[in-house]
Each structure stands twice: as C-alpha cells, then as structure tokens.
C-alpha cells in the first residue's frame, strides 16, 4: 500500500542546499519537490499544489518576497516557511503580513527545520515556539 507522504516544495538557488534539504526531508517522511528560481516555484505551486513551501529569499528571476507577494495576491493559501539570511524585525513583519507561517534564519539547524516543516505539514503536533527576544527561528501564525 502506498502511504500518502506530504509534499514540500523547496525553493532555493543553491544546489548544495537543495540536495541537503532533499535528502533530509526524504528521510523525515516528506516528499520533496525542487525549484531553483522564483518562476519555477510559482509554476510548481500552482500546478502541483504542495502541502507546504520552504521559500528562500534569495532566488534568481523573481525573489522569495515577490513569490510570497504573488501567492498572497492570488489568494493561494499554501503554508510558506520563509528562509532568510537576515534576522531583522522588518523582514519578520513583512513575512507575517504576506501570510508566511514561519520564518527561519540561515544558517539553520537542519533538525529544527525538519521539526518546523513536519509540524506545518501535520506530521507532528509539538509546539513550534518562538525563541524569546529574537526574530530568528520563529513561527509566525
């Protein structure tokens, strides 16, 4: 019997990070889908309706913010976990306003990323609490 595995789109331009995330998500029972730029990410979200999106801010073509804005504007409610190298309140606020469910600051701990992703797709029910006093590693919803 083929069990349903939640599908998560990884939108990331760095090939090393793509491979690392793919291997780790696969091992965690999540089916990864890949997108190396903003256009591909939008196309695959619309065509294949993943259960969640790991969205890097730095993407060629249209960046992560533009992808998030497009999803927000078109009313697409796919849960988005933003991944960024910046840890500032302004970006955190922007992600929240555009409907992202979590904001992870790079370089991220892979176990933490898996934990947050698993909860977002419903594989776990543990509470993903915000670390006090920091914008990093924060659940926004």
């Amino acid at each position: 019997m083929v069990a349903h595995r939640p599908r998560v789109l990884i939108a990331e331009d760095d090939p090393d990070t793509l491979v690392i995330l793919r291997v780790n998500l696969n091992a965690a029972g999540i089916e990864p889908m890949l997108a190396g730029d903003g256009h591909t990410a939008l196309e695959r979200i619309q065509a294949e309706s993943p259960d969640a999106v790991l969205l890097d801010v730095l993407l060629p073509g249209i960046d992560g913010w533009q992808v998030l804005e497009e999803l927000h504007a078109t009313g697409n409610r796919v849960p988005v976990i933003m991944c960024s190298g910046k840890n500032n309140v302004h970006d955190l606020q922007r992600a929240r306003e555009l409907g992202a469910v979590a904001y992870l600051v790079k370089p991220f701990d892979i176990d933490r990323l898996i934990e947050v992703t698993s909860e977002v797709v419903g594989l776990r029910t543990t509470d993903v609490a915000a670390e006090p006093g920091t914008a990093a590693d924060t659940e926004l919803a």
């Binding site: 019997m1 083929v2 069990a3 595995r5 990331e12 331009d13 760095d14 090939p15 793509l18 491979v19 793919r22 696969n26 091992a27 029972g29 990864p32 889908m33 890949l34 997108a35 190396g36 730029d37 591909t40 695959r44 294949e48 801010v57 730095l58 993407l59 060629p60 249209i62 960046d63 992560g64 913010w65 533009q66």
Partner: protein, 292 residues
C-alpha cells in the same frame, strides 16, 4: 509503505519499469510524456472497443440475451473495462512520480549550471579588474563590469578620503564625479558606516538615511555595497537599475561578492600608487644629492 530511503536512481528505475518504460537508460521528461500519450491512446482505444461490445449486446433482441452465458460475458466485458482503467491509472501514478523526479533533476541541473555561470562571470570580471593597476582605468573597469554583470544602466564608485566619500567614477551621471559627502550621509554614507549592502526599491527613506539628497532623474531601484578589504573601508559601489526593472536581494548578493574582488583591486592599486610615489620621491632625492 514505500521505502523513503531508496536512492533516487533506484526509485526512477522502479517507477520507469512500472510505467512501462523498459529501455529507460537515459531518463527524460520527453520519454515520459511520450509514454503517457501512448498509454492513454491505447487505453482509450481498448475502452472504446469494450463500449462498442456493450452497445452491441444492448441492441441485440432481448430474447437472445436470455441465452445461457450471455450475462456472464457481459459481466466479463465490463470487468475487463474496469480492470483496464485501474491498470492505466496505476501506470499513470508511476508516470506522475517519474515526471516529478525528473523535474527535480532538471531543477538541480539548472541550479548547478546557474551557479557555474555566476562563478564564471565573477572570475572573468575578477581577471579584467586585476589586469589594471592604474586607478582611473581600474575604477572604470570595475563600474563597467558591475553594470554588465547586473544589467544596470549606471552607477558610481566612491572612495574614502579622510572623513568623506568622494565620487571618483560615474556612469550615466558624469556630473556626479567630484561630489563629496560625509561618511554617514545619504545611502552611500550609511553603507560606508554600517558596512552592510543596501537595496533600495522605490523612494529611499530620509529617516533611515539622514542627509539624503533626492536626485533627478529619480531612480526606481538601486544598490549600494561597501568596498572593504582586510577590514579597511575603501569606498562604496553604487548601481542603478534601468527603468521598469527592480534589483532583487539575489542581485545584491552577487554585487556584494563582486565588491570583494573590486575592493582588493582598489587596495592593490592604492599600494601601487603609494609605491610609485615613494620611488619617485627617492629618485628625486638622489637627483638632488647628485646635483648638490
């Protein structure tokens, strides 16, 4: 449950076998699409035949339908149709998985190709920059390469002179050359003090950038990066986007990487200038001694 730890090539081969792609040595999305078309053409033909048989039975006079075994044949035909549809659906599921896996492989290949292209562009730009030791030529090369690399219409290079930033090279706004601003003033001054790259999209906020002078023509999108070598600030590199295009965080990162090479080249050119001045001073001293 499927084995999650199965390697990607193994999964591809397994799905290809299930989908009926037995000669799947070189996986391609085109081959999968061809197989999908073939599968549904054959299935549609077979289902049409089955439907024709069912219709034929329907129009046979009712007294002949009562013959022994007729109902069983009808049942077998309908069951065959159902089985055929399930078989096609099973193949389609494998083909879908194959399409997803092959799309992922294409994404990975494209990401690697893009990265190689970027590295190659940066290497080329680095080679061109490092071919110059004369400051004027170097600054011009830096600005032109940065504009080409990021498809910018213009920009400027500002160098640190004591507590000021001086525009020493400009593209698109030649009048800007020679302009001076204090460190901390405007966007470039902010970048120089914070040593953080800044991306401006739309109007820059005067509260964030004290001493900001709004320029004409108005620039919709711009980037400023510090030129830092061995913790020493050399200056600031500014780029302006063409009308209708906005720079992204991705462009900003590329410019930041480029600026590291530019800062190194500027530091080398400054050392070269200082060395030349030193040699000239020594030669002058020797000439004076010989004359005296």
């Amino acid at each position: 449950m499927r084995n999650h730890r199965q390697s990607e090539p193994d999964r591809l081969r397994r799905d290809a076998r299930v989908a009926g792609l037995r000669d799947f040595q070189t996986p391609s999305l085109e081959a999968v699409e061809q197989r999908r078309r073939q599968l549904w053409q054959r299935t549609a033909t077979a289902l049409a035949l089955i439907a024709a048989l069912v219709v034929t039975f329907a129009i046979i006079p009712s007294n002949r339908l009562a013959a022994p075994g007729t109902g069983r044949i009808l049942f077998v035909i309908v069951a065959l149709g159902g089985g055929l549809f399930l078989w096609a659906f099973h193949k389609e599921t494998a083909l879908e998985r194959l399409t997803r896996s092959l799309t992922d492989e294409r994404v990975l290949t494209a990401a690697l190709t893009n990265r190689l292209h970027e590295v190659s562009l940066l290497l080329d730009a680095g080679k061109q920059i490092n071919a110059h030791l004369q400051m004027d030529e170097l600054l011009d090369t830096i600005l032109r390469n940065a504009c080409e690399l990021l498809d910018a219409t213009g920009g400027s290079v500002m160098l640190v002179e004591e507590t000021d930033l001086v525009t020493v090279c400009a593209l698109g706004r030649d009048a800007a050359v020679g302009q001076r601003m204090r460190l901390g003033e405007g966007v470039a001054g902010y970048v120089a003090i914070r040593r953080d790259p800044v991306l401006i999209d739309g109007h820059a906020d005067p509260e964030l950038f004290p001493g900001l002078v709004l320029r004409e023509p108005y620039v919709e999108s711009a980037m400023s990066v510090p030129l830092v070598h061995r913790a020493e600030l050399q200056g600031v590199l500014n780029l302006n986007a063409p009308i209708g295009r906005s720079f992204t965080e991705y462009d900003l990162r590329a410019l930041a990487v480029f600026s590291e090479q530019a800062a190194l080249a500027i530091a080398n050119a400054r050392l070269y200038e200082a060395e030349r001045a030193h040699v000239a001073a020594l030669l002058d001293l020797r000439t004076r001694r010989e004359a005296g």
